[in-house]
């Protein structure tokens, strides 16, 4: 197709000439979508993620959960570039084993969070394109959530959403769990059942409006009895 760019100011066609070396950019990253969410309660923690793996406008896999079990009391949710998610979780697993063998005890949630921060910052100049959220029980048995950015900055939260639909979920959690922007409401502590129902409802809404979120929802509920998983179907379109 002859475009207007090939015509010069005089109206005649420009002569073809070799412009020299052209740099073709290769991007080492891809965005595979997905949303993760973690909520900390009085004596429990929930880590939930959708299970859709996408790229561009296509779906790679409808059953690829983003929650990975680290220890009996800690689960990590990773979304972003799937290649980096897989490698990062392998590295964390290896480091956990090394710690267990040299210190003769399992890593606590807080220790895993601190370690992850140093692992991520170690790649400050070629980052892991992963949005991490750790959920688990701390040493006292209370729920703990640690949220990270791709280069290792982290903080302990009560609840956090990450990934593609995070901007849609976070304000709703701020309102329902943090009781923000509401007046005259009793601050009742969150029960396990109410938290799980809230997580399910919030993902149903996210699947309506975010194209990267859908297919199914994997919820990991962590209590001192252990870890309990359930899978709920979501919109598949």
């Amino acid at each position: 197709m002859l475009s207007s760019l090939s015509f010069g100011d005089t109206g005649k066609m420009k002569e073809y000439h070799y412009t020299g070396a052209v740099e073709h950019r290769f991007s080492p990253y891809a965005f595979n979508g997905g949303t993760v969410l973690a909520v900390a309660g009085e004596d429990f923690a929930i880590v939930a993620s959708d299970t859709r793996l996408s790229e561009g406008y296509s779906i790679h896999c409808r059953d690829s959960p983003k929650c990975y079990k680290l220890t009996d009391t800690t689960v990590i949710g990773c979304s972003g570039f799937h290649g980096d998610c897989l490698t990062l979780t392998k590295i964390i697993d290896a480091r956990l084993k090394m710690y267990k063998h040299s210190n003769n005890k399992m890593m606590t949630s807080g220790a895993i969070a601190a370690m992850l921060s140093t692992i991520l910052y170690g790649r400050r100049f070629f980052p892991y394109y992963v949005y991490n959220i750790i959920g688990g029980l701390d040493e006292e048995g209370k729920g703990a959530v640690y949220s990270f950015d791709p280069v290792g900055s982290y903080q302990r939260d009560t609840y956090k959403a990450g990934g593609s639909a995070s901007a849609m979920l976070q304000p709703l959690l701020d309102n329902q769990i943090g009781f923000k922007n509401m007046e005259g409401v009793q601050h009742v502590p969150l029960t396990k059942e109410k938290a799980v129902q809230l997580v399910k409802d919030v993902f149903v809404s996210a699947a309506e409006r975010d194209v990267y979120t859908g297919d199914a929802l994997r919820i990991c509920l962590i209590t001192k009895e252990g870890m309990d998983e359930q899978t709920i179907p979501l919109r598949r379109d």
């Binding site: 109206g11 509401m182 109410k194 129902q197 399910k200 409802d201 309506e208 194209v211 379109d237």
Partner: protein, 276 residues
């Protein structure tokens, strides 16, 4: 600016505005701003010719980048009593172009005293789109029945067109055309053709992230038009379990002023509303 105007003595098309737009976009991105993104429909649209006429199908999702802007928009547009058009690409372009076509077709039909031909609609579309050199981002499938029989055309944003027995366009075109290539036969019966178009659009809805929600179908034949809006709800929303209603007084009232208006009471009627 004046200098370039006087130098330009060549006739033909003037695309100064597209050069200006490109410069604006690059200067905006230098300062970190992004120009406004036109809303695209994502989309799966499909059409096929069956024994008695033409069936057009479309999904109903409109996206703003990767967020769903409209869960139930209408992508099958009216052009003439027996000619309809599915639109993909930039939502505004598809909508306005089809409206312009509909009004042109009405005038042309009154002028000639004849019912419009699908080929006439296609020719006007391609001439307009070529004139704008692809700047109007509308990909359209035009289908209808006229005196020469059932016809199906596709028109691309740069102005090319194809006349074929089955067509798909939009981001979900690849998913939909694979279903057509597998099961299309010439001169199908209505039910078989309906289920084939429904399957093709459903393939786009489930396999393409830019398409979703419902399937709209439009059957055009000699006996008339059957617009099946919401033919099937391919993907249903999940049920919300919790109750998220806010009690009265949850929103903080900072200030309250009451201003009395001096009015004359003419008529009084009472309508009860739900109160919680």
């Amino acid at each position: 600016m004046l200098q370039s105007l006087s130098q330009r003595e060549t006739g033909g098309f003037n695309f100064e505005n597209s050069r200006r737009n490109a410069e604006l976009e690059s200067s905006l991105s230098e300062n970190g701003f992004k120009g406004p993104n036109p809303r695209k429909t994502g989309t799966t649209i499909a059409g096929l010719v069956y024994k008695d006429g033409v069936i057009l199908g479309a999904d109903t999702r409109a996206t703003d980048d990767m967020v769903v802007a409209d869960k139930n928009c209408m992508k099958i547009h009216y052009i003439a009593p027996t000619i309809y058009c599915c639109g993909a690409g930039v939502a505004a372009d598809a909508e306005i172009t089809t409206q312009i076509m509909a009004s042109n077709v009405e005038l042309h039909s009154l002028n000639t005293g004849r019912r419009p031909l699908v080929a006439m609609v296609t020719r006007q579309l391609k001439q307009m789109l070529f004139r704008y050199q692809g700047q109007i981002g509308a990909s359209l499938i035009v289908g209808g029945v006229d005196v020469t029989g059932p016809q199906l055309y596709s028109v691309f944003p740069h102005g090319s067109y194809d006349k074929l027995p089955f067509l798909t366009m939009g981001s979900g075109a690849a998913a939909a055309v694979s279903v057509f290539e597998d099961r299309f036969k010439p001169n199908m019966e209505l039910q078989e053709a309906l289920s084939l178009v429904r399957d093709a659009v459903a393939a786009g809805i489930f396999c393409d992230l830019g398409s979703g929600s419902n399937v709209d179908l439009c059957v055009i034949s000699q006996s008339g038009v059957d617009f099946k809006r919401g033919y099937e709800q391919a993907a249903t929303r999940g049920q919300r379990g919790g109750d998220y209603r806010y009690k009265r007084g949850t929103t903080a009232v900072i200030n309250k002023t009451i201003t009395n208006l001096s009015l004359e009471l003419v008529q009084e009627s009472v309508q009860t509303m739900d109160q919680d």
